[in-house]
Amino acid sequence: MEVNFKIFRFNPETDETPHYTIFTVKASLTDRILDCLNKIRWEQDNSLSYRMSCAHGICGSDGVTINGSPALACQKLVKDYDYTKEILIEPLKFFPVIKDLIVDMEPFFERIKGISPEKTESPSASPDREHTQTPEERSMFDDAVKCIICACCVAACPVMLKEEPDFIGPAAVLRAQRHIFDSRVTDTEERMKILEEPHGIWSCKSYYRCTQVCPKGIKVTEAILKTKKKILQQLHPKKEQETER
């Protein structure tokens, strides 16, 4: 079966503006989109650039925009799209494009770093023993542990794309949630205060796009809402009562 891919191209060394190239690939229904990109690069055009590593949705390297929606190229198959028409592959939105499908992820990782206090507290358990944590306590942040920091949620977030590009974004808030709800962590208050800084958690307007696109099926918006609630309860108990009234 032949499938057409329309791919975003930009070479900073030679191009002033981006353009699109159409490639025709012999593919089967169960081929990963990443397999198709590899066929293009290895058989047709060596200059096509994109990141990849594990090829099965756990390393988070190959987030791209497929037919307008962010996804991992190794986790989507040809049959997941209307393959009778061109499948459109573009870089992740929001991020500056460096070359073809490669974007600058540094601002993203900076935001991930930014949600941690400068010095994390030392553990509360005795040095030769693990902390005690019940399965129920552990389950409070289990969803967030699934995050592979691929940035698909960021590339889908209407707040970041249209309203407030400085928003720290769903991935960073999710990672903060992972620590704030971890019973072993003692500096949760400081972590919550960081989230309350400008462009922090309160910029989220619950569009649920992050939840829709998350390749790991994490309920990102719910995690953010849970964190907002906890911040209200712990840092602003009065406000919380008012909201409930």
Partner: protein, 574 residues
């Protein structure tokens, strides 16, 4: 561009990061990584990390040590296996304190489950020794370590591809490579260099390994005159998703899954009556391929079934969510209802750069230390896994030895003065890159690579013999000649992956040659190295480690003894 650090670590997987975090307490450290560190292949580790915590049932480090030695078919150095088993519990506590979100039992302790080859009381029955974070243990550890790196200011140079170890006299004093983003040569000057470059699964057609696992560290070592140890011992994980090679964790069998042939028979009962489906990986991979050879593959094809139906939907979601989702995504199968088609997939290299227990690279059979050069993790051969690694012993190896190497390398750097690499290193690096752009080349990277993967898969995988290995060796040499004439069509400097893959292919060819040559010499069957023409283990002649060196006219092998302390080699039955 020239950078200076006390210690430079090449590779940002779990081994490299644990080493970096440990060393950073006492010196100025940086990590260089070919992929962004959180994309390293360590994150693909699924099922668990072994330590005799005894949280679920009685367990002892002595039992863990014995299992490691027996699992390795007595080729593991027993003093080293002792270090691994003894220090494993403390390493787990360290990880837990760093924030790793381990799964918990009802008492609130780290939960533990069974895993292949891990037994109670020296082989009696399976024991619960694997700590885990559902089936994303590697990812969970890596993410916690990444947070620690950020909190402790460990400097990371992402997307830098190292091409050369630098020496001042006989002392390693840095590394040189280039920035993948713009092809600019980079030199990292250091008092000590740690290689943590991972494995080489990509030299085979079907592998669980990511694209970055191309044996880069092995080529760096061979080029510098450093030998490689026990390169013939390659692990094929029994349960890769058929056709894709993506791993279905051994945890699937630990939680109750069984392998079935075309008759629906649970055939492992015949091959390993005590441990059955939880026998070590080398034994199960051979059993699967034997079934297939005997016509018991499913529908006559080259795979068998993994049956996890009795685990049930709920437990699958809880204990094996990633595996369940891989199977659904790539095969369209719900494993709680249908059988999963599986076949062995290249997974891990037991061999590697010879080191002692502190990570010092060893140059010869008498153990002469290379100055300023260390190795750790899958790229190293310390040798703790011997001829076959047990599941969950890899992650614990990375942490136990990462800590040891971190301490040693920091102490080494403290005493050392910054050596001066010879001038013009940057020029030399540029020349190496430019040489690949030569216009007269006619050969293509991807076709040479595909041929290599085909050769390795048909002639140097689970079953081997003299004739196949000899053919493989001469074919690889043919490919090396073709490689010398490789041409790059892509002339871009920015993210030129044709260039990267060409350089990787050079490393893959060197690694494959060392592997095939070592396998050709070892005329016995031990652990993962099975010779159809020499089907028995032969301790009289072959209870020894291979050391392979690169030489102009082809590889040379020497041998060094195995450290046997507590456990006399016995017949290996499960």
């Amino acid at each position: 561009m020239i950078y200076k650090y006390d210690v430079i670590i090449v590779g940002g997987g779990i081994a490299g990061i644990v080493t970096a975090l440990t060393a950073a307490e006492n010196c100025h450290v940086a990590v260089v990584s070919k992929v962004h560190v959180t994309r390293s292949h360590s994150v693909a580790a699924q099922g668990g990390i072994a330590a005799s915590l005894g949280n679920e049932e009685e367990d002892h480090w002595e039992w863990h040590m014995f299992d490691t030695v027996k699992g390795g078919d007595y080729l593991a150095d027993q003093d080293i296996a002792e270090i691994l088993a003894r220090e494993a519990p403390a390493a787990i506590v360290m990880l837990e304190h760093m924030g790793v979100p381990f799964s918990r039992n009802k008492a609130g302790k780290i939960d533990q489950r069974r895993f292949g080859g891990h037994t109670r009381n020296f082989g009696e029955a399976p024991v619960k020794r694997a700590c885990y974070a559902s089936d994303r243990t590697g990812r969970a550890i890596m993410d916690a370590l990444f947070d620690q790196c950020n909190a402790n200011g460990v400097k990371v140079h992402n997307e830098v591809f190292i091409q050369k170890l630098l020496f001042a006299g006989n002392r390693c004093c840095g590394v040189a490579g280039y920035d993948i983003a713009n092809s600019q040569p980079l030199v990292f000057q250091a008092k000590a260099v740690v290689l943590a470059t991972g494995g080489c699964g990509k030299i085979f057609k079907t592998t669980s390994n990511g694209f970055a696992s191309t044996g880069d560290g092995f080529a760096l070592a061979l080029d510098a005159g450093v030998p490689l140890e026990d390169m013939e011992f390659v692990q094929f994980h029994p349960t890769g998703i058929y056709g894709l090679g993506i791993l279905v964790s051994e945890a699937a069998r630990a939680e109750g899954g069984v392998l079935r042939n075309s008759d629906g028979e649970r055939f492992m009962e015949r091959y390993a009556p005590t441990l059955k489906d939880l026998a070590p990986r080398d034994i199960i991979s051979r059993a699967i391929l034997t079934e297939i050879r005997n016509g018991k593959g499913i529908s006559g094809a080259d795979y068998v079934h993994l049956d996890v139906r009795k685990i049930g939907k709920e437990r699958l979601a809880q204990k094996l969510p990633e595996v369940t989702s891989f199977v659904k995504t790539y095969l369209g199968i719900d494993p709680s209802e249908k059988l999963i088609p599986v076949a062995p997939t290249c997974h891990y290299l037991m061999g590697g750069i010879p080191t002692n227990s502190e990570g010092h690279v060893l140059m010869d059979k008498s153990g002469t230390e290379a100055q300023g050069l260390f190795a750790v993790g899958e790229c190293a051969c310390v040798s703790v896994h011997g001829a076959n690694r047990l599941g969950c012993n890899s992650l614990i190896d990375l942490v136990v030895f990462g800590r040891r190497v971190g301490v040693t390398v920091a102490a080494y750097a403290k005493k050392a003065v910054m050596p001066q690499p010879s001038a013009k290193t940057e020029d030399a690096m540029e020349k190496k890159i430019v040489s690949l752009f030569k216009p007269e080349g006619t050969q293509h990277v991807s076709s040479i690579r595909e041929t290599l993967q085909q050769i390795m898969t048909t002639k140097c995988s689970v079953f081997r013999n003299q004739g196949d290995l000899q053919e493989a060796l001469s074919e690889i040499r043919q490919l090396k000649k073709q490689y010398a004439n490789v041409a790059l069509a892509n002339k871009a400097n920015s993210f030129n992956y044709e260039l990267e893959e060409a350089l990787e292919l050079g490393n893959m060819l060197k690694t494959a040659e060392a592997m095939v040559f070592s396998a050709l010499q070892r005329k016995e069957s031990r652990g993962a190295h099975y010779r159809s023409d020499f089907p028995e283990r032969n301790d009289g002649e072959w209870l020894k480690h291979t050391l392979v060196y690169a030489a102009l006219e082809g590889p040379i092998v020497l041998y060094k003894p195995v450290a046997v302390t507590w456990f006399k080699p016995q017949e290996r039955r499960y």
